[in-house]
């Protein structure tokens, strides 16, 4: 076979069968997952310890110290490592406090979407028939919809409060849980061990709680991680559009919006919270990918 290989082709392209196991091995990188989880852990600590870590009060304004570039000794005699915004507030302190909004809403929304979507997926998978059809049509409809418009609409109607944001962002994410769990349940319910329990008189609740849930738990964890990244970005986007947690409470998306007008003269107001947001989104979604490779390689491509 080697004789037919064009000289220019790299060997690993030509010998995929031999290259595959190595690739599969390299994909399972638990230490990367630990790194990602560590990043989120640090973020949670920062959010929890914000009052201790933030050098200044995030909503204290200072007319004299407005739009100060990043400096160790500002005109007010304080350090502003990331500068100050148009109201003279310390950007670093606001970024630190802003992690609270992102994380609390992110985690709460993932919880709402996860419970709702997993339930819908389990119900659809077990009921099949009409209920399954209704749930999956709802999922299709939601995917056919520019969801951000619905989110803006609902929040504009109900007012931008914490519970509204959590429910709306949570609702935006139920479909991925429902679809994947449904397909897994369809496979599981035809497996012998589930059928035997059924034959032995095990109730449906018992089958779901004792036998199906543990089997799909790793999928739920993977989706939840990917959804956390999405929820954090969606919250920031809604805040950027002015419908998130309202000022003066700092949020990353809101800070990017506030700094927009000063982009030319004071780039740091928008850039720093944006970079932190982007890093969070990248690390969390990558962690989801790595988790998937480690926990559940069958999920790839869904």
């Amino acid at each position: 076979m080697a004789s037919s290989i064009p000289a220019s082709a790299p060997a690993d392209v030509v010998l995929p069968a031999a290259a595959m196991p190595a690739r599969a091995r390299r994909r399972r990188r638990p230490w990367l997952v630990l790194l990602g989880v560590g990043f989120v852990g640090v973020l949670v600590l920062v959010a929890a310890a914000a009052p201790l870590l933030a050098p200044q009060d995030p909503i204290r304004q200072s007319l004299r110290g407005r739009l100060a570039a990043p400096t160790w000794v500002g005109s007010d005699g304080r350090a502003h490592a990331l500068g100050t915004d148009h109201l003279g507030r310390d950007v670093l302190s606001r970024v630190i406090y802003g992690s609270r909004v992102s994380l609390v809403i992110g985690f709460a929304a993932v919880l709402v979407g996860g419970v709702l979507g997993s339930t819908a997926g389990l119900v659809a998978g077990f009921s099949r028939g009409r209920l399954d059809g209704i749930i999956m049509t709802l999922a299709d409809a939601q995917l056919a919809f520019p969801f951000i418009l619905l989110a803006i609409g609902i929040i504009a109607v109900l007012g931008p409060s914490f519970p509204t944001l959590v429910v709306v962002i949570g609702l935006s994410g139920w479909v991925s849980y429902a679809r994947i769990l449904r397909s897994q349940v369809l496979v599981l319910r035809s497996r012998e061990f589930v059928e035997s329990i059924h034959a032995l008189g095990g109730s449906l609740a018992r089958i779901v709680l004792r036998h199906v849930l543990p089997n799909v738990l790793s999928s739920i964890v993977v989706i939840a991680t990917l959804e956390l990244a999405r929820a954090i970005v969606l919250e920031a986007t809604i805040s950027f559009l002015g419908l998130g947690i309202q000022p003066p409470t700092p949020s990353w998306g809101g800070m990017v919006q506030e700094g927009r007008e000063y982009l030319d003269s004071a780039w740091w107001i928008s850039t720093f919270p944006g970079i932190v947001l982007m890093m969070t989104s990248i690390v969390v979604s990558r962690t989801g990918d790595w988790l998937r490779d480690v926990l559940d390689p069958t999920l790839r491509g869904e």
Partner: protein
């Protein structure tokens, strides 16, 4: 083609149901949002005047009646009158549609034209520095928040480098940054998917057979690899077009692009029901139509789907 027509029919039915659900949700949400009439009239307008406007807009009828009228009008392509622009909602939206289509199509083609060769190249040169760099960039593109990408582009390429204007619609220079922002996610997804689809195909037996027969490498890629890798690429591409429509809302707001996404956001603030309904309905319709065609292209690319 037996089996393919019922398959399409089934998809069409689901698409219609999805459209109906979308319009119903919009109706409910917009009607929950409160009375738009006080926004239209001066604060000291007499009660009789308020009632007259309410009657004129059909807001005095009970909600179920409003809903039936709404659906009947929708079926006729009548989206009602915009209370803000004081003309039929569809005419208003039509005026903004061209800008969104221009932006959406540019973003889409930019993404496809850039991403497919990158993905292909990455797959052919797997695990080289170029591959790692391209895929690393793709990951950033896939996870970066759209609005911040837009802000970064404005800051770096517009304000600092002074290459492109910061906002508005005009010649091609105005189009570059919004199209790049809107297309970033799609570009990244298509590049990653192309790479993995090509890798998958490169491992297939018939590729080895083709090589064993002495088929040239260029031909192997062009004829055997790309054609078979095209199926997943077309799928994701069709779905991506829908995400583009959602992303247009944010991109148009960041770049003050006069399209239907920005119009929709402003209409929500104005409580201009008719315009919101019309934009959302059109967006959903476009998504449904595009995916219908994606299903059609499937059938052409992969005869197995026609049978199943």
């Amino acid at each position: 083609m037996r089996g393919f027509i019922p398959f399409l029919g089934h998809r069409l039915l689901r698409a219609l149901i999805a459209l109906w659900l979308v319009s119903t949700v919009v109706f409910v949400v917009m009607r929950l949002s409160g009375d738009p009439v006080p926004l239209l009239l001066p604060p000291d307008a007499p009660h009789s005047e308020i009632m007259r406007v309410r009657r004129e807009l059909g807001l005095d009828k009970p909600l179920p009646a409003q809903y039936v009228i709404f659906l009947a009008n929708l079926a006729r392509g009548d989206f009602g009158r915009s209370i803000h622009f004081r003309e039929p909602a569809f005419d208003v939206v039509r005026g903004y549609l061209a800008a969104t289509l221009e932006l959406g199509l540019s973003a889409f083609f930019l993404a496809a034209v850039v991403a497919v060769p990158i993905g292909l190249f990455s797959a052919m040169r797997r695990n080289t520095l170029v591959d790692h760099a391209a895929m690393g960039l793709a990951l950033v593109g896939q996870s970066a928040p759209t609005f911040f990408l837009g802000i970064l582009f404005i800051l770096l390429l517009s304000l600092k480098a002074d290459l492109f204007p910061t906002s508005g619609r005009g010649d091609w220079r105005n189009l570059v940054l919004p199209a790049l922002t809107l297309g970033a996610f799609t570009m990244a997804s298509i590049a990653r998917l192309t790479r993995s689809a090509v890798l998958e195909v490169l491992g297939a037996d018939y590729i080895r057979t083709a090589r064993a027969k002495g088929v040239s490498e260029v031909w192997v890629v062009a004829k055997h690899t790309l054609k078979n890798a095209a199926i997943p690429i077309v799928t994701i591409t069709g779905l991506q077009f829908g995400t583009l429509l959602g992303g247009a809302v944010v991109t148009e707001t960041v770049f003050s692009w006069p399209g239907i996404g920005r119009l929709a956001v402003q209409s929500i603030y104005n409580r201009d029901y008719a315009v919101v309904q019309c934009t959302v309905f059109l967006a959903a319709l476009m998504f449904v139509v595009i995916n219908f065609f994606v299903d059609l292209i499937y059938g052409v690319l992969d005869p197995r789907i026609r049978a199943g």
